[in-house]
């Protein structure tokens, strides 16, 4: 079985670069940090490319390198990048959803056929706006859990936060995203 030629490696990397960048930008929330992570991943990929014979397994591998670079960067940024005001605002927004007995102030409505949304380009634009609107800490934990597929124990370790804090942040992220998609896409009425 022959391995990938230099030309094949190059065209394969050029083909997935936009997706790598989009993926990194969404999670790192910084175009510069995303460029750096993708650059690092591409360099590492070129060094190891000789082991691959197929473009698709090569691309999967490049993606996994990028995921590790993103985890490194999220760990680094978690030490400096916090957004206390936005976190307080989200806390309050979540509290406001419930009354004094912690029951819904307004019941979340059914979303009809959400599966159909997955096929629509506009849905993903709204999803990305909602993800970007989350404060940095819940967003980081949510990204690590849902995009990067880490278990909560790993996330706690990477970010040196407690397990219960991890669950609180995931809960807020999910509630925040649910509200945002409900209002901006699924047409739940604003109160």
């Amino acid at each position: 079985m022959s391995t990938l030629s230099p030309e094949e490696i190059q065209s394969s990397l050029a083909e997935i670069r936009p997706r790598l960048l989009g993926f990194a930008r969404l999670q790192l929330r910084s175009a510069a940090a995303a460029e750096d992570a993708v650059q690092d991943a591409l360099l590492a990929a070129m060094e190891g490319a000789a082991r691959f014979s197929g473009a698709s397994s090569f691309q999967t591998w490049v993606f996994s390198i990028l995921k590790n670079k993103i985890i490194d960067e999220l760990r680094r940024s978690s030490r400096t990048q916090t957004d206390v005001d936005a976190e307080v605002a989200l806390d309050e927004a979540v509290s406001d959803l419930f009354d004094e007995r912690d029951h819904w102030s307004e019941m979340p409505a059914a979303w009809g056929d959400p599966q159909a949304s997955l096929e629509q380009k506009r849905f993903w634009e709204v999803m990305d706006v909602c993800l970007t609107n989350l404060p940095a800490s819940p967003a980081r934990v949510f990204m690590m859990r849902e995009f990067l597929g880490l278990e909560t124990a790993e996330i706690c370790k990477e970010l040196t936060i407690s397990t219960s804090n991890c669950w609180v942040l995931l809960h807020r992220a999910r509630i925040g995203l649910r509200e945002c998609l409900g209002l901006r896409w699924f047409g739940e009425l604003a109160k």
Partner: protein
């Protein structure tokens, strides 16, 4: 009976860890009578599925 807020916390954690038998029973009882939380559970599950199918995913 647990509150809606607590029910949403359990539903969220149920996506990240195995809930205890007691937690599962309390949650099930709550869901049985609360349409708002039943909808929310569907929305949480949909969120996970949507992210797995995000166009940027490798």
């Amino acid at each position: 009976m647990i509150s809606c807020k607590h029910a949403t916390e359990l539903m969220s954690q149920g996506l990240d860890r195995q809930l205890s038998l007691g937690e599962r029973l309390r949650l099930r009882l709550h869901l049985f009578i609360c349409i708002g939380c039943r909808n929310t559970l569907k929305h949480f599950r949909f969120l996970r599925e949507a992210i797995r199918k995000h166009p940027w995913q490798g």
